[in-house]
Symmetry: C2
């Protein structure tokens, strides 16, 4: 009998806790696992010894496990700490091995995106070399959907559903006036345009209206963009733009330039792209323009999550625990799409060394720059991921979320 | 047998079409009403002769009436046109009287906020003087909840539910990091802080965390505000601020000053308050700060509307039609609260002359400036308005909205 340790890392999604619920259900049911511990604030917190017993908190508590499943963000909190590479500095690896020994950990599950899969790869290699019997398995998550080795990431479907519904509602709101009216919705996604592309699901059947979609995979061309907006204004008298926060000019300059700063991973922190575009449109067309910045609200919108997404996130967590128990290490719990219609996936493992530091962008042939939209391939890909409305527990008119 | 004309005006809400559905159900069932017409783009469109038959579109079409009930914004579109006062210029009144004659209108229902009730008051007086037998009844709506003569306005409850859920989710998102983190959510409401106050419903039971709430009814005091944020950061390491777009300094200057422009009613068009506050907080505390600008998304969020709100909006429309049929004119369809718990309202009429040009602000004794929060009276008032989750028709994972 060994203990299991799980932690969460990176940016939140609406489905990370569903994965945690899946891990817990499997771990509580397994005769191979004694206590389930949660590392608080990811690697950074664990290095400071921050660990709690999830067995005490959740074992046998079906009601709170259900609330956990539906609660967005991270029950165990997160960090933006990046471990140095082993060659550079062994300190953190030693400290993690020490923690594993202290808590008699046989299984370590780490939930996160690209950076976290890097940690899983490095740590699983390290413990093997040290002769420590700890199985290390990654549980994927990211609203950006930019992980390789998996058809799509948990958390993405819920964010996509919220974004598509919001852009649909903003279209209904923007179309109302007897004068030219434009709304620009700024959507998360530094380098990968998947979440912005989900605005392509917003059009209403039988209404020949669609948003202008700008993804970071293609260079921003101001002239073409403004022509497209003018074309929509001419046709519909209104226009909604869905733009990724990360769109850049041909030369690599962010459209939001001047407002960009850097976070500790060296990624630019973006905001203001929507405002910059709204200003451009106002100047060129004279139309009334508004910018909508959903920011963190879009990745945490548990009140309109996708049942498909939560279900898959749960399964990926459950399977990750199963893999670890079965002695598999250095992998990420993954899924493969078998068919779009009927939608079907199969669960599998992906080699984490093949995932870390890679980014999955929107394929160029899924973008239609002429229409400032995406292709039918993209629609087919996205559609099943937002399907289904989970039966969210409600208390006094609001989602009954759980906190630590 | 006379015909009925209905139009919609002002800013959209998630419940205006529910009122329209109520009007239609009553009108279709009434032997006193022949055809139901819809005026397109409010007064402005009707003055240009834009009228459609709603009988052709909806009579006997239960499925589309149901979709209409749940669709946010305005099926009949809107305008921002303000009729001149009768003393000033009779032209528009004459033109409306002409339209009433042309379509043999016996009942005119106008849905809107303060400005629209002004129109109802003036127009009902005018037709009476002209000896035209047209009953004019107002149907209230506004996410701002600033109409007098009614306990609360339809549309407000849905927006409040969405705002409260969003602020709850932003709190969960902002609390996650092991460093100081602040989010500022900018909420609609020029002069009345009701919608911003609904953030007071966001705290999670058992979690001693609440947002800082800034309403436009009290002058903004930078020093006190920053002290409050620092206090929250010290206690929780994070802080969420819910601020009305319309907060002003003691001297009347908008906090968003410099970004304010004017619309055709002479109201300042605000945006940027959240960004200004985020900048102040960043400068003072060094904490990571983000600004979230929901803008129009909050008034059009049909995907998370309040069942209580839609139900009341429907009833107010149904009753408005009933009042008109019964010969009542120059009134607004209204409701009075009988009790908070169990929540109970009674439907009644309000004299529209008593409503126009007045604004209902948050009472000073419902605000607690020391805590930067609201009082228990406010919570009791707000709580029932967000109750209930309507069974929204869904198609392919998104609300199945209807358009003209």
């Amino acid at each position: 009998m060994k203990n299991l340790l799980i932690a969460q890392s990176g940016g939140p999604t609406a489905a990370i806790n569903a994965s945690l619920a899946g891990v817990l259900e499997k771990a509580f049911a397994s005769p191979r696992i004694d206590t389930v511990y949660g590392g608080i604030h990811g690697i950074q917190g664990m290095l400071e010894g921050k660990v709690m017993s999830l067995s005490d908190r959740f074992a046998g508590n079906e009601k709170d496990l259900k609330r956990l499943y539906f609660t967005p963000d991270m029950f165990l909190r997160t960090c933006r700490y990046k471990m140095k590479s082993l060659n550079e500095d062994e300190t953190d690896y030693k400290a993690m091995a020490e923690l594993f020994r202290k808590y008699d950990i046989g299984y370590f599950l780490y939930t996160g995106g690209n950076d976290s899969m890097n940690t899983v790869a490095a740590l699983s290699g390290y413990v093997k070399k040290q002769g420590l019997d700890v199985k290390v398995v990654g549980v994927p998550k990211t609203v950006d959907n930019d992980l390789v080795g998996i058809d799509h990431t948990p958390g993405f479907g819920s964010a996509a559903k919220y974004v598509a519904a919001t852009v649909r509602e903003v279209m209904l709101d923007t179309c109302l006036y007897p004068f030219e009216n434009v709304a620009v919705v700024e959507i998360m996604g530094r380098d990968a345009g998947w979440l912005t592309a989900s605005a392509a699901l917003s059009p209403i059947e039988g209404w020949d209206v669609s948003p202008v979609i700008l993804l970071p995979e293609l260079p921003f061309e101001k002239k073409n963009f403004l022509e497209k907006v003018e074309e929509k204004l001419k046709k519909d008298r209104f226009c909604v733009v869905a733009v990724s926060e990360g769109v850049r000019y041909e030369d690599g300059t962010y459209v939001s330039a001047g407002e960009a700063k850097n976070d500790s991973f060296g990624h630019p922190l973006l905001s203001g792209t929507g405002r910059v575009l709204a200003g451009m449109i106002k100047e060129k067309t004279g139309a009334k323009t508004r910018s909508i910045e959903l920011a963190t609200a879009q990745r945490s919108a548990g009140h309109f999550s996708s049942a498909t997404d939560l279900d898959e996130a749960y399964n990926l967590g459950y399977k990750a625990c199963e893999y670890a128990i079965n002695g598999i290490t250095g992998v990420m719990s993954s899924l493969r799409r078998i068919s779009d219609e009927p939608y079907k996936v199969e669960y599998e493992t992906a080699d984490v060394a093949e995932i870390a530091d890679k980014v999955k962008n929107v394929p160029a042939d899924w973008i239609d720059p002429q229409k400032a939209f995406v292709t039918e391939d993209m629609i087919r890909y996205l559609k099943p991921l937002i399907a289904g409305e989970p039966d969210i527990p409600i208390r006094d008119g609001l989602p009954d979320y759980i906190v630590m």
